[in-house]
Structures are given as structure tokens and as C-alpha cells.
Symmetry: C2
């Protein structure tokens, strides 16, 4: 569940969000966006957790890959529904991962 | 619950983790680490969520602030216990937030 990512540098898109109580199509669209993202050039992986606050982090090779994903037609529709129905607030942060380290039992 | 952060650039430390089933002192230490981090120079805020996978993101002014926090004596002990008892796996990513945008109802 922790994304396997290559040696830095690479990019992280941190999407922190709070949902409304509107469910209408949300789970289907969220699943569809994961499938679509995984097919995009430059996609490296993602991690997604919700506990009231939701955090989804997707990892990308470069900013051009992120730009293309943001401009994907189906994703644009999901973004519009997100603002209209599903989210009461969100913040997106685009960040260059400079180094990483980890541990596994 | 979404951290209020200044205009970029600033840094994000993304800590993705999976817990063991050992609870021994974990919640107390986690709370204490939040209190300690908030007192550190250069601390900007944090977001923390667990749903099986845990993601805690702390935001910092610069890498020097992150380095000092990582080397804090009490935090070093928490990191040691983390590897010995509480986590079965984690990954820490240090990332420069280059831009951000958001939405709020």
C-alpha cells in the first residue's frame, strides 16, 4: 500500500480534501480516475487514505506528465463534479521529491 | 484539518507508514511528537490520516528546519521505537512544494 517509487527526483501531487455528504457517483468516479491515472504516461504510483480528512498522493516523473493528467478530458469532468458536489474543500500541492528513505520488516 | 500553509515554496515531509499490532505507548508518543514538532522553528503545519495505511505530512519552511527536527533527541527516540515496535514499514519523502491551489465552499 506504500507506493513503490524510483530513486528521486520525481514529483508528488498531494491532494488533501474534505468531502461533502453527497455520494452521488463519487466512488465510481474515484475508482475510474485511479484506473485512468495508472494509464497516463509518467504515472509512478499513488497512496490514498481517508479518515474524515482525505489525502491522496500521486507520484509522477515530471511536471509535464502532471499537466497532461490535469488536462485529461475525463479528469476535467471529475474535477468539475468535485467542486460542484463531492468536496467542501481541497488543497492540491505539487512537490518535487528530492530524497526519500524507508524501512521494512 | 487541511493545513494552512504560506505561499510556496516550502517543504513537505510525507511519512507513509504501516503499523504493527503493537500499541504500547504509540498514541502517547504520536501526540507528544505533534506537540514537539509544533514548537520547532520552521514548522508550518501538518495533516495526518490513517485507514490501514497511515499518511502524515508535515510542512516546513526549509530543509534545515527538517534536519533539526529529524535530529531532535526526543524525536530520535520515537524514530527508534517506531522501527523496533510500531511500524512494519514506512517511507519518508522530502519534497519541495513548488505550487499549490485550492477550493473551499
Amino acid at each position: 500500500m506504500i507506493a513503490t517509487t524510483p530513486k528521486p527526483p520525481y514529483y508528488a501531487v498531494i491532494f488533501s480534501n474534505i468531502r461533502t455528504d453527497v455520494d452521488e457517483g463519487y466512488a465510481e468516479m474515484a475508482g475510474e480516475m485511479v484506473r485512468l491515472a495508472e494509464q497516463q504516461a509518467g504515472y509512478l504510483g499513488h497512496e490514498s487514505v481517508r479518515e474524515g480528512l482525505g489525502i491522496t498522493i500521486s507520484y509522477w516523473t515530471d511536471t509535464e506528465a502532471i499537466r497532461k493528467w490535469k488536462a485529461n478530458t475525463d479528469h476535467l469532468l471529475a474535477q468539475q463534479y468535485g467542486r460542484e458536489k463531492w468536496y467542501s474543500a481541497y488543497k492540491t500541492r505539487i512537490a518535487l521529491v528530492e530524497r526519500d528513505y524507508g524501512f521494512e520488516l
